[in-house]
Symmetry: C2
Subunit: 190 residues, 2 copies
């Protein structure tokens, strides 16, 4: 993809912007913010949210540059994938306390943080890149780092929650960074 010089990112989150920028700069690509409304549809899977939202933008039809949009969520096995694509709404309403109430003292506490990242290339359509971090839901909130569900998520092979780790430790197993790696690998080809 040596012909790509600029990639637009649909986000209002400067942390996300800087993170992707750091990964794409070594490829000689510049990341710019695209201030545009991305319609997030109701769906069971992150893939649908990204594909349908990109489809809507594509039909409106005036983007001629490559752009990237991602979405993430926490999927809890015993709750049928809840809160899934609605993770941010659920966190805003019932919060970590609500998730712990729903889990009660059940033993089956497996869960996964997932990110799906879509890359739209004009004339080529959409490619998806996925990242997952498996783990379990803790029995109580622990730690002050991070945000969202970090205080109740213990990644596989560890005993600390994400909120008890440093940013560097967490990033080393981050679902989001796994998805970015997939994107970078794809863009490095050819």
């Amino acid at each position: 993809m040596k012909d790509i010089r600029t990639i637009y990112l649909l986000t209002g989150n400067m942390g996300k912007f800087k993170e992707i920028d750091r990964w794409l700069q070594p490829l000689g690509m510049e990341v710019k913010l695209l201030k545009r409304n991305f319609i997030e549809t109701q769906a069971d899977h992150l893939e649908e949210v990204i594909l349908k939202g990109m489809d809507i933008i594509n039909k409106e039809g005036d983007i001629n540059e490559p752009f990237v949009k991602d979405d993430s969520g926490l999927f809890i096995d015993a709750l049928g994938g809840f809160p899934g694509v609605y993770s941010s709404y659920v966190h805003r309403t019932i919060g970590n306390r609500g998730i712990l109430d729903l889990m009660g003292d059940r033993n089956d506490r497996g869960a996964a943080f997932r990110t799906v990242m879509g890359l739209y290339l004009p004339g080529k359509g959409v490619s998806l890149f996925r990242g997952e971090c498996r783990g379990m839901i803790s029995y109580e909130e622990r730690g002050k780092q991070g945000f969202g569900y970090d205080p109740i998520f213990i990644p596989e092979g560890r005993s600390m929650t994400f909120a008890e780790m440093s940013v560097e430790e967490k990033n080393a197993m981050s679902h989001r960074i796994k998805a970015i790696r997939g994107l970078v690998e794809y863009l490095s080809r050819g």
Copy 2:
């Protein structure tokens, strides 16, 4: 609205179709099913879901007939409005059992079933009609009638859940029928 002869309904639910048909027939209007994808967006309010979805259809631009689309949800006061616009997803994943777990033994059990119904008139835009039924969340599931959250919702002034009532009793206070009445009144004018 004497010039309107046909109204299209966006639904796959034949029960909803028959219900609206029964109300609009006396106005000399025929209801037809519109088999078309309606994109439900993520939003905090039912109004947004209807308005944004209709806006998307409008931009695609090939509907020249009046059409109706509605959405409903259960909004629980103590849970910040959860499950709200995601009521059907939440019911599919954590179910009534999950809602009761979240409520625990708290006293503040106020809730409302809400319907928002949008009417799109070509050249005139969208009108919204609302219906609400206030009530409370029960302490356990009761009754076999109805569907969804009916076994855990006790309408105001009653002691039975919706699922313990006959269809006629429930319809007499139904949020959905209140919204339909608003639509019928609007269409009866002029």
